[in-house]
Each structure stands twice: as structure tokens, then as C-alpha cells.
Amino acid sequence: MLTDFFLKLREGGVPASVKEYLILMEALSKHVIGGSLDEFYYLSRTCLVKDESNYDKFDRVFGAYFKGIASTPETLLAGIPEEWLRRQAELLLSEEEKKLIESLGGWDKLMETLKKRLAEQKGRHQGGSKWIGTGGTSPFGAYGYNPEGVRIGQQESRNRRAVKVWDQREYRNLDDSVELGTRNIKVALKRLRKFAREGAAEELDLDDTIRSTAKNAGWLDIKMVPERHNSVKVLLFLDVGGSMEDYVRVCEELFSAARAEFKHLEYFYYHNFLYESVWRNNRRRNSERTPTFDVLHKYAHDYKLIFVGDATMSPYEIAYPGGSIEHNNEEAGAVWLQRLLDVYDHAVWLNPTAEERWGYYESIGMVRQLMAGRMFPLTLDGLDRAMRALSR
């Protein structure tokens, strides 16, 4: 029962497990809901989907699966007197539509075709209700006599509201490949948390105190430990200006989330690619620059390196000395990047351009190669993968 639906959900990318499916079955057997599809939609969603980012996937699968079921006409239609069906339809159709039906040979002919269609369908698709359901190519759709009309004949109008709920796909923007708000970024960055005890001993270490008190023949011997906090250190390099203008907002969001999340966050800006100097303040970028060597020497190798940049530029800017568009650089950008990567084992490149477009730019391919494939798109999903790569 409903196994197909369950399997379809898994195919559609909803990570539902057997346990959750069994809970749904249990709920059905305990009559949590009546017979309506509407209620079933809510119940199955609350049982099977455990994250709002999967709501949209669920809606899509549910819509596709039950569109067929809800408009299965063969069996139900057989029991309905044609006379009654006609009356219902007449109530529904406007004058123009009725005229249109007349012009196409009248109601009888229409019903005739419909019946023929249904018979034909049995032969061609197994239970092929979808054929009528989608009806895009069927003449019925063209008349405005759509499957909804048939459904009213089946007294199932209550389904229409439910269909609407999932067809609206309200949770579309919660899908994690699309939206990126600061809060979501913070959640993604949290993957990088690593707790450690550092600094002054301020907390009572109860276990140790008890142990040493016992050893001390019952006389109190208090032990203290430092408090736990997030000890991850991050070096962030951000590309500014030029082609990055389009991605200012998403980068701002990432930056503010990172600032809130990491206690040890050092950030620097660069333009297009990394050379012998970077800067911290864009307004004074010409007067106050930090040599990249200083960065290498100042921050220990346990810092995690995150580059943010679209990496779309001329290949010369990466591979050749003097290739920079702003100044005459003595050494190629690739050399500088390699220097950084030699010091910092954990590094990723976040790219705000869409992943499917990466193949069109040669420079992106070069940077990916330099980064040993550790380039990720600047979406929630990409961030997630990047953080996993960093914490490895």
C-alpha cells in the first residue's frame, strides 16, 4: 500500500526512511485522518519530510503522483449516469463553451469521444489516468472541458483545494540550492565548528574534582578547566570590483555570517586574482596594502583558507608574470596561490557563478586545477560541501 508513492518520493530526492514510512502506516491504521486527500497530504508530509527545504520536492512528487489518482476516471465514471454528468457540466460551462461544444458535434459526440479515449487508454497505458489528467493535448482540454469537470462528476471537488496546496509550491524558495540568507549561511558555516578548551581555567571540572578529592581521602581538592569554545580559525580572501559587482549581495551575506560565526576570522580583499599584496580596506586599497608574504608568515598553518571569487578572467592573469590588469606583477598569480596552498592544508574556493556555467570559462578550470578540485558554488548546498571539505 502506497509503496509506489514512497519509492517515488525517494526517487524525487526526499530522504524518507522505512521507519518513517511505517509511522505513516501506523498513523493511517489508527485513523488519524479521514478519507480526504487533503488530510493525507498534511499527514504524509509531517511523517515523511523532516526539513522544510524538502517541502518543495515533496510537493512536486505528491502532485505528480496524485494527479493521476485523483482524476482516475474509468472505474468511477462507469457508475455515473450520463444524464447527471451532463447536467453538472452544463452548470459549469459558460455559454461560449457550450456553443463551442455544439460546434464540435454536440455533447453526445463529445461523450462518445471521451468514452473512446478511455477505452483506448486502458489498452495503451496501464491505468493511464495521467493521460486524461494532464490533458494538455487531449481535445477535452481545448474545450475548457478539463478533467476538473470530470472530477466534479465524481463528487471529489474537495480534492481541488488540496491539489492547490501542493501545486502552489509555496516552499519553493526554501530549497537549499536556491536561497541564501545570512541565517542559512550561518547554519552552513557551523559545520566548521570545532570545540576546544583554551585559555584561562574558569570552569569547575567536576569529574576531576571528585576523582582527586577521593584520592585526597575525602578532603576537597577543586580542579578547574578552561571553557569550551569554537576554536576554528579562518582566513577569508574576497574578490572585489569588476565582475564581482553582480555578486555583492551574496558576498556581503556570506561575510556578515562568517563574522558572526568565527571568533578568529581574518579577511583580506583582492582583485580578480591573488598577487604579492592584498588589502583590508577597499577605500584605502592603494595606500594600505599587506604583502601576501606577511599574511603567510603571520597566520599559522592551522588557519582554514576560504577564497571567494568568480575566477572569471583572462588566463594570462593567472599563469603569466605581468598578467595582472592593474599592475605589473613580478610573479604569476598561480605561484602566489600555490604558496598559500603549501602553507594551509585546508582551503576551498567559493564561486558565486552558477556551477553549470563553470565549463565555459577557461580561467575557472585553471583555478579548479590549482585548488585540486576544491571549488564550490556559493549556494547553501555548495557551502555545505565546502565546509565538509574544510573539516576533513
Binding site: K19, I33, R45, T46
Partner: protein, 280 residues
């Protein structure tokens, strides 16, 4: 008995379904949603509607799963032993019950709220798997098994600050409270301020949704902020006309501080309003 919302709480159909499924099947219900959409209130209202006692456990970043079950107060036992108190010989005197124990021990089915489960350490939910599934736990100090007399309805809220482990999620029902639309919002306000002037309400709601639409706000105002704002508007007796912004001298809606909680947001909002006024 089915949960259908209460006099002071408006529940949507899908929320009711989730609550009823969780209560019927005696499994935990995980509630997520924007801050201020009434996640914590839900447990209180469910307890009220089903006439069950409510036990609350507010989770903090330092909370341990064990604290929900019980705590062994070793320090006071140690102190008592140094002072030669007679109670020292029975370890049960130093076992402090947690909210989970209280809920399990209740003589009739209870409601247990585990608030903001995502605030705690990443391992926290994993440490509660067996307790939530079997509704029993073992007290090592006294060698006693505590089992729920009646499985309580457990409502867990999360603000999405941390991802919860799959094994934990699989044991729960899940519901995401989405931000209410205008119609639901009117019902919510109606429930809280039944005698609010209709026109004032309509104007206020329009202003409220407009503010939510402003791009770039750090923290969008939510339902609870709207309710606070309305309270203020009522207290100040502000007329609908003022709200509609006929008064050109005033740039932002009166008492907007209740809606915008962030200095940058207020600045941004002022700038936008100023620009749109000039454009007219």
C-alpha cells in the same frame, strides 16, 4: 480528544494535523519556523486544550541531555559528607529530577516542551534518542529504571541554528510553521485583541506587511512583534488616518521601534521611505 487551536491560539489545518498525529501516535513533534511564529506557545496551548499538565525544558547552549533526565548533585553530597550530615548515606537524596522524569512520572498523560533544541551541543539530540523512542531511562546511581506511565506528548522546537541528526528526525513528526498570510494574521490579531477597531487593524496589517517586504532588512518583523506593536498602538490610541501616513511630517510609522529591532534596519527603512516620498 483532538487539538483544534484554542481561544488564544490560531492553528492552521496542517499544524492541527501534525499535532493530532503526534498525540495519537505518542511520538515527538518537531516544530520549526521563523522566530516569533508561536512555536513555544504551541506546547502551552496544546496542554491547555487537551487539559494536560505541562512540563517545560528550556535548552541552552550549555544544556546536557542528562539534565533533562536527572542530575546527581555530587557537590552537595560532598559538602554534607564533610559536615557529617546523615542524609549522605542514601544517594537518592542527591538525585535531582529533570523535566523528562517529571513528565514520565505524571499520573495522567502530560505535555512536555523541549524548547530550542538547536541551541544545545550537536550531540544533544543523539543523547535523547532512546529516551524519546522508548520513553524510559536508567538511573545508574540508584539502579532504577524510570519508565513513562503514560507516554507524554512531546513538542520540540528548533530555530534551525544547527542541523539535527537524521536518527533523531526519524523518530519525530515534523512541522514547519510558515509565516501566516494576511487572512490568518487577521484571525491571530482578532484572537489577541478582539475589540481592536477594524479599520485600524487593516491599516496596521498593511503597514506591517509593507515593512516585511522592504528588501535588505536584517530581521524581518514577525507575528509576536506585530502583536507588541498593536498593543502599543492601542495604548497610544492612534487613529487609522495617522497610520496611513497622511501626515507628511512623520517619516516612519508611529512606534515602529516595536517592529524594527535593529538600528541598521531603522536607518534603511527611513532612507527608503524618504526616497519614496520624494519620488511622489
Amino acid at each position: 480528544m483532538k487539538f483544534k487551536g484554542t481561544e488564544s491560539y490560531v492553528a492552521t489545518d496542517d499544524l492541527m494535523m501534525a499535532v493530532n498525529a503526534a498525540v495519537t501516535l505518542e511520538r515527538p513533534l518537531l516544530i520549526k519556523g521563523e522566530p516569533g511564529t508561536g512555536k513555544t506557545m504551541l506546547a502551552i496551548e496544546v496542554a491547555k486544550a487537551l487539559e494536560r499538565p505541562l512540563h517545560q525544558w528550556h535548552v541552552k547552549s550549555t544544556s546536557k541531555a542528562q539534565q533533562g533526565l536527572y542530575e546527581y548533585d555530587a557537590v552537595s553530597r560532598l559538602r554534607d559528607s564533610q559536615l557529617g550530615d546523615g542524609r549522605v548515606h542514601d544517594i537518592a537524596n542527591y538525585i535531582v529530577r529533570g523535566p523528562l522524569w517529571d513528565a514520565f512520572d505524571s499520573d495522567r498523560p502530560a505535555v512536555l516542551l523541549i524548547d530550542e533544541v538547536d541551541k544545545a551541543d550537536i550531540e544533544f539530540p543523539n543523547d535523547l534518542l532512546r529516551e524519546l523512542d522508548r520513553m524510559e531511562f536508567y538511573v545508574y546511581e540508584t539502579q532504577k529504571l524510570v519508565r513513562a506511565k503514560y507516554r507524554p506528548a512531546i513538542i520540540i522546537t528548533s530555530n534551525n541554528e544547527k542541523e539535527l541528526p537524521d536518527a533523531f528526525l526519524r523518530r519525530c513528526f515534523f512541522h514547519y510553521i510558515k509565516f501566516p498570510d494576511k487572512e490568518i494574521m487577521e484571525r491571530i490579531v482578532d484572537v489577541h485583541f478582539p475589540n481592536l477597531k477594524k479599520s485600524l487593524l487593516r491599516e496596521a496589517l498593511e503597514v506591517f506587511f509593507e515593512i516585511r517586504e522592504v528588501p535588505g532588512l536584517k530581521k524581518k518583523p514577525s507575528t509576536s512583534e506585530l502583536l507588541d506593536w498593536l498593543k502599543l498602538l492601542m495604548a497610544e490610541d492612534i487613529s487609522p488616518e495617522t497610520l496611513r501616513g497622511q501626515d507628511q511630517a512623520k517619516i516612519i510609522p508611529p512606534l515602529a521601534g516595536a517592529l524594527l529591532k535593529n538600528e541598521q534596519d531603522v536607518h534603511l527603512f527611513e532612507r527608503l521611505v524618504f526616497m519614496s516620498k520624494r519620488a511622489r
